[in-house]
């Protein structure tokens, strides 16, 4: 067994790093194999992976409409724009 392989089989820190790299980019064929073997034997990292993907989904799913400006700020903003127009 290569040392890289031995390292990953028991190393959750490295496995979660590869999980993130795979989700947001790409990993090599060797890394894919290492991760596959790790996940086959590590239920904790499997939960991590599911939750990591879920977090991305929730994050991207935020609607812009979840945020609203207060009326006072809008009023000030309108006044500033009017003032700026009248300058010209």
């Amino acid at each position: 067994m290569t040392s890289a392989l031995r390292n990953i089989i028991y190393n959750c820190k490295q496995a979660t790093f590869l999980i993130e790299k795979r989700i947001a980019g790409k990993i090599t064929a060797a890394e894919t194999l290492q991760l596959h073997i790790h996940l086959a034997g590590c239920s904790v990292c499997k939960i991590y992976q599911q939750q990591s993907i879920l977090i991305n989904r929730v994050f991207v799913g935020f609607e812009n409409t979840d945020f609203k400006l207060d009326e006072a700020f809008k009023k000030t903003l309108t006044e500033k724009i009017e003032k700026e127009i009248n300058k010209n």
């Binding site: 820190k13 790093f17 993130e20 790299k21 879920l54 977090i55 935020f62 724009i81």
Partner: protein, 196 residues
């Protein structure tokens, strides 16, 4: 009266009516900024800067694109400027005070037992539960260092290539992935802690 007419004429010839901007676009632009920056004061400033920059460039707006698209493009540039400033401040701060470093055993790389990811017991097809999870995630995101949030948001919100983000924020590829990893570890732990 003459003045009012002038303004109307100007608005027409410029394909745009700035007096209606706040009413039409302020909430939209604010939401756009907030979903990428998560700081109310900064987001408000950026919306204001966007409108003022728009006014100055009004003569160059030719009505080829929608007003909303045009203003959003200005805002996107402002957000990119903000990210760059943040990264200049945080350049050396990869490790952050208060950040959890000890998710794993230093020797073996195993999860330390108290940090084991545990199932959330979540029904993903339950909209109420997902909404609750979303609001907790929001609080967790607010605790992230600015640079980390910028990296995370540019990657997932704007779907930018990792290389581009590194160039924009002056990060090495190695640092980029360290930040992505630590961001997720901290977000996940924060969710687990505050869920239920």
């Amino acid at each position: 009266m003459q003045n009012e007419m002038d303004k109307g004429l100007i608005a027409k010839s410029l394909h745009s009516d700035p007096l209606s901007w706040v009413e039409k676009y302020a909430d939209y632009l604010y939401g756009f900024a907030m979903s990428r920056i998560r700081d109310e004061d900064v987001a408000k400033d950026l919306v204001q800067d966007t409108f003022l920059a728009g006014l100055q460039r009004l003569d160059r707006f030719e009505g080829n694109s929608e007003e909303k698209t045009w203003l959003t493009a200005i805002l996107k540039n402002k957000i990119a400027d903000f990210y760059r400033k943040q990264s200049a401040i945080n350049l050396k701060v990869i490790s952050v005070e208060g950040e959890r470093q000890d998710f794993f055993d230093a020797e073996s790389g195993h999860w330390t037992e108290k940090d084991y990811p545990r199932a959330f017991g979540l029904e993903i097809d339950n909209p109420l539960m997902m909404k609750e999870l979303g609001s907790i995630l929001n609080e967790c995101l607010a605790k992230l260092p600015g640079l980390w949030f910028s990296v995370f948001s540019m990657k997932h919100m704007d779907d930018l290539a990792s290389e581009l983000i590194c160039t924009e924020l002056k990060l090495t590829a190695a640092n980029f992935w360290v930040i992505m990893h630590r961001t997720k570890l901290n977000l996940r732990a924060c969710l687990q802690k505050n869920w239920n």
